[in-house]
Symmetry: C2
Subunit: 211 residues, 2 copies
């Protein structure tokens, strides 16, 4: 078995054993197609019923191509969880960076997240199932998300925009809000406008975190 | 197969087919012992690896006693999710009812919830796994929890304590906070005092929801 250890897709996570990085642009496209197909396969069928042949069929690649990059169903699932985590992060990051202040940043992050979830409903099932299939990736996803929120809040405290007692508790509270608002208003139903939801939450945060 | 349909333990949920209500006090104690054993078995081993014999061994009851009340592993799992949901509700309800105002009620509910989770860490794994094993119970648990929070918030709006625009969005946000604070500060680590966490959240809510 090849022992090359790939750097994880997310860039800031531990490498996954049996997940090999492509060396060519064509290889990167194939690996990307396999991960997108894996999201569809795991999202629809769940981990236990999903199969490698189901993934390669959806991706339109040969079984050999799968094994060029991933050693097993377990390995592609682990790589997928970290890939989805990175996709969410990269999707919301530009809006957060462009926001004029801390509250606007949280508002923009939530609004972009709700829209992303509506287009990628399978992300909930996959990340939730990682608790059972690959608990390390599950924990890494939420811990790193909460850490990023905590960093943004700390920056707001340092700038004097937020109260000095805003802490890790608030970061976990905000992440929890976003996850459940995404479940209710992204996955389960699209009955409310993401902008209106983000506005309501921004007003709540503005008052709740203000000095 | 017996077709008696039991009323669900929670009282306000749909009956579960193949879950039979005991008619004697002794029967109720046996059913209770089976559900507590099921919480330990499913919490430790997960749904797929858990077994009925593992449950009856932990409960110290004969296999026949299990089948007196439950038709299958699926049925006892469904009953357990609704039972845990009811246990959380009943554990936090007295503190919420005794609170002098809406913010104190949410504070008390969170503090009691954090303490309950520390004593029943398996609840997260079981309710999270219900998304895959019994999605109806998963949905019912979160929808009914959010509905109760929304009712409390609406009462606060009616009394003039909360802003008029406090809505279902805030109810889902508060539930999400509580779930993730429970994961971080109840299941993963007990490094912070539940009272301090509840105080921080209460202050956040007081400012965030005030008129």
């Amino acid at each position: 078995m090849a022992e090359t250890i790939a750097a994880a897709a997310a860039g800031d996570t531990d490498a996954i054993k049996g997940d090999r990085e492509p060396r060519t642009e064509r290889g990167r496209r194939t690996r990307r197609a396999i991960l997108d197909a894996a999201a569809a396969e795991f999202g629809e069928r769940g981990f236990h019923d999903a199969s490698i042949s189901g993934i390669t069929r959806r991706a339109g690649v040969a079984l050999g191509s799968f094994y060029t990059y991933f050693d097993s169903k377990d390995v592609v699932f682990r790589a997928l969880v970290r890939d989805l985590s990175a996709q969410v992060r990269e999707h919301v990051a530009p809006a957060i960076r462009a926001a004029p202040d801390g509250i606007a940043a949280e508002r923009a992050g939530l609004e972009r997240f709700l829209r992303f979830v509506r287009e990628h409903k399978e992300i909930y099932r996959i990340i939730d199932e990682s608790e059972f299939v690959d608990s390390e990736s599950f924990r890494l996803h939420y811990q790193s998300t909460a850490d990023r929120i905590a960093q943004r809040l700390a920056a707001g405290v340092a700038r004097g925009n937020f109260r000095a007692d805003v802490s890790e508790v608030h970061a976990w509270a905000i992440m929890g809000m976003n996850v459940f608002l995404g479940l209710r208003f992204g996955v389960w139903s699209e009955d409310q406008d993401p902008d209106a939801i983000a506005d309501a939450v921004a007003e709540f945060l503005r008052r709740g975190l203000a000095r």
